[in-house]
Symmetry: C2
């Protein structure tokens, strides 16, 4: 991995050593689509055969969804200054509805380059800036509604299936196919995700495929309740200058643990430069809260914000390649008094900024009054909306209250406006929420916003465990996912106080990934249970390395195991020897199975009964003092 | 804290420093019942007033449930050799249905003292061994069915209420009373837990009050779905000799983080001595799996087990004071073949021992054939059953299968047998379980076992995250609790591989405690939300110390906060100053509230609207370049 010389020393070495380390016993494989340039990357985990003593069964490799792009592929060469390969560039350009600008149409690059950032943190502007031709609309929603299946949609379809058709026989023979139907959100999930299904879900607004035309490096992914539940990793960057390698490291580290998108919540100086570095090196969509940068432009004085400043910011970010914008356009002036009786008032930072503006001007938010103008910008680049819930609850006490539900209705109206512009929309929520109110929350959102996908954040199910925010959130997020949230935002252990460090990012994302997977199992996603079954089978057959390698975080699994082995070797040894080497769960089950197989009896139950009789005899013959007293 | 000299060096010092440290800004308070010797210990957390700038509101102290007994009370003197005060001794003896034995009725103490343990690990036998007089039945279920309200029941009733009546006005004025009704498991939970309600729940078999007459040191607690959800902490002790202080330290450490009962899963040598030490020093009920010790008596050879060995073990443990026995009596011979097609066979260790016995003898388990004899022993000491689910699922694939549901029916029959002897019963389950199958699982158990309380363990919602078992379990446990599980068993991060160390015990119990509290909120336990509201209010008002002190794990909250502050001071400072000191969530809300109060206007909304107009004017007057460009 190469970077500028001043970046190299420590961060880059760590990045190479940890975040970029290939997963054990895994390789990156590519599944080709209908054309040679559709190459969908996945991770193939090779597993051992069942040990001879247990029957020498051949176990199939496992293909799992991979969010790491080229970073865990030792064959890929990474150049942080040049950025990743623009894999979607050809698909975007061949549609003929895009024009290339040599400079920003709005002059925003020039604005940026004339800005305050010192040269040492500069990141080059995009070589090419793409924008829709006049009168064109370049969103995936627009194409879907016209009935087109884009390469992006096909990519997503292949990615969601994870080679199920190719491997079905092997999975079935290995007993890995799912055994539980799932509850399927009231309707069964499709057993196969076709490109046409992806198109139809997009056209219905039930899913989004966030891929700005200026972020051609990103691998297409889909956010919708009838697909694999996704995880968003929120990261912040320090206001002080950090090296490219350090910034990209946080990104790559997040992807390693399962981040499907990244929310860049950086505040402070140089955020535009940081964002440029991230976008050029990110294989996943990146979202932002543009009002944060707009606020920087007016030196932190919310009352000095204006539509013009905000508009300029949107265009600058759209031209850089940001894939979705979190915009709190539904928070109207008249909703603010509804928060007066709350325990925790308004907790969304973006909403607070706009609340201050509204109070100062006693005017309706320009995010609302200029919403159609915002849509016009979004459709020129295919930026998706993340319609922010400014009035989401900051505590259990405030959950699902009137402030929230009134704002939600406005979000529903705005969703329609966006859809009239063929702009993709997801809805954000719900903040803190007790478990029994999850279903009502989701159903309200679904109804108010016409089934637009729901991206949930800060889903804390209780307020009393600061320092364990990742666990409190995982409990809520799993339920939200089960009932239909399409994407869950990770929360780090000390989220409310601080920007997460590496360890906290890992804890937060893995916890959230567990919740997402638990939701996939509950929904009955057709390939989700295969991984559980493969890992459980490995555990049952004492294939320890396979257990590590199949798990969500192989390094953690191995570390926890090894730390224990060393320290408690005598205890574990004792526990395992409690029944002697010839007696364990696996052995008993295998005895029963072998017996049935060897005798070639049709009725397995009969075989088992016969087997038990023989075994009883055998044990008695081995004799000794049965019923002996101690 | 005093212990034998050879115990003192490190473990004891650590115990004193960490596990026994009083909670910050908290004191142990005692609520007296209908007689002076009913003194129910609780923890009172003192909080600061709302800061002057936000209105100088007086905030009431918070009373929370406390599982630590005397250990966090600096006024208590702890003597590990003498054990805790036998607070229930008088209540037990005054009922006149108990006889005192100077030696074990069964000679089991003699057996123990003649056993293999070296003198260095010996722990003295109970000074007095209690047993029911001939023809008497000393279980709380027996008393309840006779219509008696025992001091134990009254204690529990007071404990569950946590001074709500005394503090109701203060809580209400502080806005701390719950705002959400909860779903109440189909029926509303009682707004006040009376001693008679406790009695009726016990009499119906819907709850148990596990308190062996030989464990008078324990503080009464109740396990039932219409009460606060409880947490069981499973701990193991090493086979090698460890000091009293080390062993008790694990116990006290578990109580500190919210363990309501302790499951002693020790195996190996000296387990009877270890158990004695624990019981004499434990203020919470202790459960065991007696078959583990029985197996030790036959040198680990399962096929040499017998009813006689098992019976002797039960009596020995009952005389020591074990409060509940996990017994896998429902696993019948004919169910074993149903596990042949499973991914993970039989995963319960106790069940494996008996499966081996059954296969060796081709006979029905003596746990089943002698079940009535077991009941006769249990009722003599008031030991409760934890009817083990030997065929619980060890993986997602095996969840809720036929093996499990068939065994469950037998557990239901055994529950009735136990109830015919007035012996208390809880049911154990479910093992790994995907989220959408939780409700069906609980409903099956409730129906099959006539509403006996459900104690859930290993509730992993997916198999793919080894090393994060505490989180995977917390997700499942919260849902189980919400739908009616009365007690949740904690699971440490690396549970499947190893005995947990101190850190792992803490992670496991706190995660489980979070799940239990999330369930209490969902059920609508009348005092649960008070703590959330108090903490959220403290957060909103920047009362940081109060946040720490009210939280489930004050030390962790403080550590996470402080680590962050130091490292990210500039980031946090920046984030907080994003809007300047006069602009934050609290300030805006407070501005609105103050205005309404000062103007003395009846209609708060009108006040708010007026306030916003004035504010807008004020801001404009302060002038400057509104709408200025960056």
């Amino acid at each position: 991995m190469s970077a500028r010389p001043d970046d190299m020393p420590n961060a880059s070495a760590r990045l190479c050593a940890q975040a970029v380390k290939p997963f054990p016993n895994s390789k990156k494989v590519f599944v080709q689509g209908s054309r040679p340039d559709i190459q969908v990357g996945m991770r193939e985990i090779k597993v051992s055969d069942t040990p001879t003593v247990f029957g020498s069964e051949k176990n199939p490799s496992l293909t799992v969804y991979d969010t790491t792009g080229p970073y865990t592929d030792p064959r890929a060469s990474i150049d942080l200054l040049a950025g990743l390969q623009p894999l979607r560039a050809e698909w975007i350009d061949e549609r003929g509805d895009i024009k290339h600008l040599t400079d920003s149409g709005s002059g925003s690059s020039a604005v940026r380059l004339a800005g305050r950032s010192p040269d040492t943190v500069r990141f080059p502007s995009n070589a090419v800036i793409r924008r829709a031709r006049k009168g064109a609309n370049v969103t995936q929603l627009h194409y879907a509604r016209k009935g087109l299946v884009t390469p992006e949609m096909e990519y997503v379809a292949i990615r969601e299936n994870r080679r199920i058709e190719e491997l079905r026989d092997a999975y079935e023979n290995g007993g890995l196919l799912q055994r539980h139907a799932g509850e399927g959100l009231g309707a069964r999930l499709p057993s196969e995700v076709t490109p046409e299904y992806v198109r139809d879900e997009l056209a219905a607004g039930r899913a989004i495929l966030p891929n700005n035309v200026n972020h051609p490096e990103s691998e297409p992914m889909i956010i919708g309740r009838n697909f694999r539940v996704k995880v968003n990793a929120s990261i912040n960057y320090s206001a002080v200058s950090s090296s490219i390698a350090e910034e990209v490291e946080k990104l790559v580290w997040s992807l390693r643990f399962g981040g499907d998108t990244i929310m860049d919540l950086s505040t402070g100086k140089n955020i535009e430069e940081t964002r440029g570095r991230l976008l050029r090196n990110s294989p996943v969509p990146i979202g932002t809260v543009p009002i944060y940068q707009a606020l920087e432009k007016v030196n932190g004085r919310a009352e000095e914000l204006s539509w013009e400043v905000f508009r300029e910011t949107l265009i600058e970010q759209a031209e850089q390649g940001v894939d979705y914008f979190r915009i709190h356009a539904g928070m109207l002036l008249r909703y603010l008094p509804l928060t007066a009786g709350r325990v925790t008032g308004i907790s969304s930072h973006g909403a607070l900024i706009m609340a201050k503006w509204c109070l100062a001007h006693h005017e309706e938010s320009f995010l609302f009054t200029h919403f159609a103008d915002i849509c016009e910008i979004m459709k020129d680049y295919d930026v998706a909306f993340s319609l922010g819930s400014g009035l989401r609850a900051g505590s259990i006490a405030d959950a699902n209250d009137e402030a929230w539900s009134d704002e939600l209705k406005t979000l529903g109206e705005l969703t329609k406006v966006a859809w009239n512009h063929d702009v993709q929309v997801m809805i954000e929520g719900p903040g803190h929420l007790p478990a029994h109110m999850v279903k009502a929350n989701i159903e309200n959102v679904r109804e108010a916003c016409n089934e637009a996908p729901y991206c949930t954040l800060e889903a804390l199910t209780t307020d009393i465990a600061p320092g364990y925010d990742h666990i409190t959130t995982a409990i809520g997020a799993a339920q939200l996912g089960r009932h239909g949230s399409a994407m869950l935002c990770s929360v780090a252990p000390g989220q409310q106080w601080a920007l997460p460090d590496r360890d906290a990012i890992r804890e937060g994302i893995v916890s959230c990934r567990i919740a997402a997977h638990a939701a996939d199992l509950a929904k009955g996603h057709p390939v989700a249970q295969i991984r559980d079954n493969a890992l459980s089978k490995a555990r049952f057959e004492f294939r320890r390395e396979d257990q590590f390698n199949i798990s969500l975080d192989p390094d953690r699994a191995r570390d926890v195991h090894d730390a224990t082995e060393e320290k408690d070797a005598h205890k574990v040894a004792h526990f395992c020897s409690l029944c002697g080497p010839s007696f364990c769960s696996m052995k008993i089950t295998q005895d029963v199975r072998d017996y049935a197989a060897n005798k070639g009896l049709g009725d397995v139950n009969e075989a088992i009964t016969k087997g038990m009789e023989e075994k009883a005899k055998e044990f008695v013959e081995q004799g000794g003092e049965v019923y002996s007293k101690a």
